[in-house]
């Protein structure tokens, strides 16, 4: 039991940190520009595919640096020449723009790399098991993913809270006009933040690609959950995104491990027969079976009872 709890915690934190890498960019972009970037998960996918391509040419490690830079650069270009023009037509146009962009990126990826999963390998230097918990091996690569994600988080936190650039970004989050009045080039800050957000998502893609599956539907698989994280954390709140990422990561991992159903719960209370026979399907469904919808259930509950999210300060 202890083994299951420990391994599940590790897995949950790892998944949560991956989510955070993406959610942090998404929430930064939202709080700054008010753009809900539907194409955000696509940059995660781009990161993985770029990482794969670069790893074929020069190896995994250069890919870890180059792929996010490339994706961030593309993101910045899209902001400068696409989003900025669309911005004039209001938020609905922006929303539709990023929505369309997600499809365009998916199609382009399919055109270049095809629809089949790619053989994106873990670098040989990390292909061993790092340690053993009781009898379960924990792969070194997953440990690397975890530490790398935490590292990025720390750097991001330091940049935002301890540097001048971070100060300006934080100021533009809440008072963009004032920052503009003070002589800063707010559009350029927007562009850089958009690029940075995309690069962060791409980092997640590069490190997740070899461990999960690199294929053209990976954005679509992860996209919805990302919005759940951002909404639960509170739109625009970095700390909220962090907490929500870990929450969702742990929730999904632990839900899989729990075999509880309504029948068991009521069994503990002494009620053994199903009071509503035609609901027997629901009666015997275990938590593990509904694990994939748990985050969405949480999303609905949060929107009903605390629309600003866990740590959000403003309504959308």
């Amino acid at each position: 039991m202890l083994e299951l709890v420990l391994v599940s915690t590790l897995n949950g934190v790892l998944y949560g940190m991956l989510l955070f890498l993406m959610a942090s960019g998404l929430t930064l972009i939202f709080s700054m520009m008010g753009v809900l970037n539907f194409a955000h998960a696509s940059f995660y996918m781009l990161g993985a595919f770029f990482g794969f391509q670069i790893s074929l040419l020069v190896g995994f490690w250069p890919g870890l640096i180059l792929a996010p830079l490339l994706a961030g650069f593309i993101g910045a270009l899209i902001e400068r020449y696409g989003l900025r023009n669309v911005h004039r037509h209001g938020h609905v146009a922006e929303l539709l723009f990023t929505f369309g962009l997600a499809f365009v990126i998916e199609e382009v990826v399919q055109m270049i790399w095809g629809k089949l999963p790619l053989d994106y390998r873990i670098p040989p230097s990390l292909d061993f098991s790092a340690f053993t918990i009781f009898s379960t091996n924990y792969p070194a690569y997953k440990m690397f993913m975890l530490l790398f994600a935490i590292g990025i988080f720390v750097v991001l936190l330091l940049v935002l809270t301890r540097t001048r650039v971070g100060l300006i970004i934080q100021a533009s989050l809440t008072h963009p006009h004032m920052v503009g009045m003070l002589g800063h080039n707010v559009p350029r800050i927007f562009m850089l933040v958009f690029g940075l957000g995309c690069a962060l998502a791409a980092v997640a893609g590069v490190i997740a690609g070899p461990a999960l599956v690199t294929q053209s539907n990976m954005a679509a698989l992860l996209g919805p959950i990302l919005f759940v994280v951002v909404v639960i954390g509170g739109l625009g709140s970095l700390a909220g995104a962090f907490v929500a990422s870990l929450l969702i990561g742990l929730l999904q991992t632990f839900a899989v491990a729990v075999n509880l159903s309504f029948a068991d719960v009521f069994g503990l209370l002494g009620i053994h027969s199903n009071p509503v026979p035609f609901l027997s399907d629901i009666w015997f469904v275990t938590v593990a079976q509904v694990a994939p919808i748990m985050p969405y259930l949480l999303l609905v509950l949060i929107l009903i009872f605390r629309p600003t999210g866990l740590m959000g300060t403003r309504d959308t």
Binding site: L4, V7, N11, K115, L116, P117, S135, L212, M218, A288
Partner: protein, 418 residues
């Protein structure tokens, strides 16, 4: 020269119309088969292999003259592993004049097609469409929901579990079994059959886990493996196919989980690589209608030919039987009309791809054939073929004669009046 917007619009419309107009011409000199399976997303890796296998088989038959002098042609349609999209694609195939549909991945979609085709044929007499199922093994398709227009070449889930559990009952090292299956009609069929049959044949075995997970959506099975590990199981039964099997075993390899595996589709794309990586030497057993290393001459020749052309081995001996029987049925009926093909197929006997005789049972349109249980691992001189360049290959563990795979059916077949 300058065109007005009307001219441009007309031009655009004309251009768009061309692809739709094309298939109509030349429909008479080829026999087209619509292959409706996932060609994108989580099922793509397996759907793609199926498509190429069918194309290879069509080429093989065409080289021998096709049927009635007509050539076979396989047209791929991507159903995106979605029931709605499956029917859209089947309709699209029918609209372009195709009257033979084949599909295999996903019993839920198979049921949708069987139902659709049956209704379509009632409404469109004279334009019947026939559906060949090469891999969807939910027993219900040849029992309560059977249809004259549906033919299945793979042994159904109950037949497979019957054979697999007969093999397992003599293996004394099995004490605790964990079930993990995909949460849809097929996975549920495997689960139910495993539970009832294991309990009946080996009441001393403890079922320590019974898991259902979403179909082809999971990219990291580590949480599930942690759970299997915690349960203390020594054997796992799974009907998982495609990515769901490969990733499951990959996660088992990462965590160092060492159990025996009793499977339906371990040989699918990515499976062998994952099994080698996990170091499960002859600890994964699979039930199928054929493996490469049976030492049967004609099958070996075929295996060499398909490997020379593609980088995969034959995963669908049933597809070979299906295409060869289609050709024979057309020759026998002297017509490529689906109604006549269907009548000709009922009760038809054939020497199956891996040797021995099989027949299409008329009662329920379930193909009856010899089945094999094989384990995957290091090869001896008797096993010439490896899989996915791993060096490991399939080794025969047990053969079940066709007569011993026969199970009763509840099908009440409605045949078209002729």
């Amino acid at each position: 020269m300058k065109f007005g917007w009307r001219a441009k619009l007309a031009g655009a419309v004309a251009l768009m119309a061309i692809p739709f107009a094309m298939p109509v011409s030349g429909a008479d000199d080829t026999i087209k088969i619509a292959y409706v399976d996932p060609l994108s997303g989580g099922g793509a890796s397996i759907g793609e292999v199926g498509l190429k296998t069918f194309q290879f088989l069509a080429d093989e038959l065409n080289a021998k003259g096709g049927a009635l002098g007509k050539k076979f042609e396989i047209v791929g349609y991507d159903n995106k592993l979605n029931a709605q999209e499956t029917l859209v694609q089947v309709q699209k195939a029918i609209d372009s004049g195709i009257r033979i549909i084949t599909q295999g991945n996903g019993s839920a979609f198979a049921a949708a097609i069987s139902d659709f085709v049956t209704k379509y044929n009632e409404r469109n007499p004279g334009k019947e469409v026939i559906y060949f199922n090469y891999a969807a093994v939910d027993p219900v398709l040849t029992n309560d929901k059977c249809s004259f227009w549906h033919f299945r070449w793979d042994a159904n889930s109950d037949q497979k579990m019957e054979a697999l559990s007969n093999y397992m009952k003599d293996r004394k090292n099995i004490k605790k079994i964990y079930l993990i299956n995909q949460d849809y009609s097929f996975g549920q069929a495997v689960r139910t059959a495993a539970l009832t049959m294991i309990k009946a044949k080996r009441p001393d075995i403890e079922i320590v886990g019974d898991e259902m997970h979403p179909l082809l959506k999971i990219t990291d099975f580590a949480p599930y493996i942690a759970k299997i590990k915690a349960s203390g199981a020594d054997s796992v039964i799974t009907g998982n196919w495609g990515q769901d099997f490969a990733l499951l075993v990959k996660a088992a390899a990462d965590a160092g989980l060492q159990t025996d595996w009793y499977t339906y589709y371990a040989g699918g794309t990515g499976g062998p690589t994952a099994m080698k990586q996990a170091g499960l030497n002859h600890r994964v057993f699979a039930i199928s209608e054929g493996i490469p290393n049976l030492g049967y001459g004609p099958a070996d020749e075929f295996e060499k030919a398909i490997r020379a052309k593609y980088n995969f081995s034959l995963f669908y001996p049933r597809a070979v039987n299906q295409m060869r029987m289609l050709q024979a049925a057309i020759e026998k009926a002297k017509s490529a009309e689906p109604t006549k093909i269907g009548a000709a197929l009922e009760g038809m006997k054939i020497n199956v791809h891996d040797g021995g005789e099989g027949y299409m049972r008329a009662d329920d349109h379930q193909f009856i054939q010899p089945l094999y249980i094989a384990s995957f691992g290091e090869r001896s001189a008797k096993e010439p073929f490896d899989e996915e360049g791993t060096g490991w290959g399939w080794k025969l563990a047990g053969k079940i004669e066709a007569a011993n795979t026969v199970l009763p059916t509840t099908c009440k077949m409605n045949r078209p009046a002729s």
